[in-house]
């Protein structure tokens, strides 16, 4: 393999992308964990840029920090505020345009995911509770109020009473943006100082789910007495993340640190309260009561939003700041053209452009991510090229 420098003298520097095969070059690029390094690498030369885009390294960077990103079935990007669906000549050219678009969006997402932030409470409003004993005195809305230690505030949510302590409850909240990075959830169970023995109405375990509503939620429906159980039922939501079960301490405000910072896709967080422990003396029923909830993290860039589609959820990118999708807005009737396998496009483009096949395989991909095998190359997850 010649150096091809066009110089007579020994040149001890060379473009490794020309020397190493695509597989080993890919290993080098996936060892670049910082989005800035990848962004700069894609500006080095045409062949580097093509390689970065065709191999979706920006998507891999996102997946490495937030595996939930694999939930996106496709990407939609608009420029100048309108969705551009160009009618490009050949399908290969269209495929390449889509790959460039995907690269651009995942690059923006990885920058968003890995930027330093100051954690803050991301709850914007309550959606509802599975049950409420006295509505509205003990409404879920009270959990947004911080504890007033001086006055021993009686602002809390109470579930309905149950004979069976294993009967679960849940609290569902809406977050500031379609996409929020969540790293910690704080829950303070309620201690009834006005009752004999000051019982604490905690739960045994707590688990968190995050995702999006299947149908837009209208403000009028939220936190209402009539349709409580209905609104919080799982079939209204698609959950893109479920945490492990955390045991709850019984007597303090507790901070639950998630195993890794999770991107909440769709702005909905469900707090599942499992296993009641405290009976109320008066009626002999088990209750769960919560004083205060905080969901801590960072809302992501306003230029990113999500939209549910028939086959899953789509990541949208609008370079100008826009409101996150209004909860009641029309889902939009854009129908994508039939998805094609990016792998074939990438291979074809790569082979026609620079003459090398990529040779992706599941083992290599797992290896590149240094983790358990991902479903990156399965049918429903390939970045659809529509």
């Amino acid at each position: 393999m010649g150096m091809g420098m066009g110089e007579e003298e020994e040149e001890d520097r060379a473009d490794f992308l020309q020397w190493l095969g695509p597989d080993t070059s890919a290993i080098v690029f996936t060892l670049l964990h910082h989005p800035a390094d990848l962004a700069r690498a894609s500006a080095v030369s045409r062949s580097w840029r093509t390689f970065v885009i065709a191999n979706q390294f920006s998507k891999i960077q996102c997946l490495r920090v937030c595996p939930e990103v694999s939930n996106f079935t496709s990407i939609e990007a608009s420029s100048s505020g309108s969705d551009v669906k160009e009618d490009v000549g050949s399908s290969a050219a269209a495929g390449w345009e889509n790959q460039k678009r995907d690269h651009r969006v995942y690059m923006h997402l990885s920058h968003s995911l890995l930027s330093h932030y100051n954690s803050r409470n991301c709850i914007i409003r309550c959606i509802g509770a599975s049950s409420t004993d006295n509505f509205p005195e003990e409404t879920i809305e009270n959990t947004l109020e911080p504890i007033d230690h001086v006055e021993m505030s009686l602002s809390y949510w109470s579930s309905g009473g149950q004979r069976d302590p294993s009967f679960p409850e849940c609290l569902i909240y809406m977050l500031h943006s379609d996409l929020c990075l969540i790293d910690e959830i704080k829950i303070q169970p309620f201690q009834a100082f006005f009752q004999y023995g000051s019982p604490i109405y905690s739960a045994q375990y707590v688990r968190f789910r995050m995702g999006y509503p299947k149908l837009p939620l209208c403000p009028e429906q939220l936190v209402s007495d009539e349709n409580e159980g209905q609104l919080t039922a799982d079939d209204n939501y698609t959950w893109t993340y479920a945490s492990p079960e955390f045991p709850m301490l019984q007597n303090v405000a507790q901070s639950f640190k998630l195993p890794h910072a999770v991107v909440c896709i769709g702005g909905v967080v469900k707090i599942e309260l499992l296993g009641r422990i405290q009976k109320q003396a008066i009626d002999g029923l088990y209750y769960v009561c919560v004083s205060h909830v905080q969901i801590l993290g960072n809302p992501l860039s306003q230029e990113l939003s999500v939209a549910p589609r028939e086959n899953g959820v789509v990541l949208k990118y609008h370079p100008e700041p826009r409101r996150s999708i209004a909860r009641c807005s029309d889902l939009g009737g854009e129908d994508g053209s039939s998805p094609s396998n990016w792998h074939n496009f990438a291979t074809r483009i790569w082979q026609s452009g620079t003459g090398r096949g990529i040779g992706w395989n599941q083992a290599l991909l797992s290896r590149l991510l240094f983790g358990p095998p991902l479903q990156l190359l399965e049918e429903d997850d390939d970045g659809d090229i529509s």
Partner: protein, 158 residues
Amino acid sequence: MASAGSGDEKAATVTLISSDNEHFEVPEAVATLSQTIRHMIEDGCTDGGVPLPNVTGRILAKVLEYCNKHAAASDKDELEKFDKAFVDIDDQATLFDLVMAANYLDIRGMLDLTCQTIADMIKGKSVEEIRETFNIKNDFTPEEEAEIRRENQWAFDD
């Protein structure tokens, strides 16, 4: 290769033959750091030596240096020191050859080490510095380059 003679305690060896016909007799315990060679030994096709047409003698010698050290399973700090010195190579061509040899011979640790070395040559560098490091010609038009930088302005503070 089967050890010679009955009751002989000598460990099994395998002969590796480089592309330039250099022969290296290597203990199996060392050679099997290469998954490729390990499979060949298991399949029993190493009689008469294993030809490695993709690896020169010079590179193979370095590879075996790595395998010898790592097969001896010394202490972690010692291995780290060794690895650091191993990839302290001025000549990029040798480094790239080692990557390719590690890939071909399927030596996971060496592949990770050498690829990480190249990645470290990219990390934190500006675009110009990366081009300088690998002697890469900028083949973008000024407009193309400006557009690429504009897309991710946050990454280009130079």
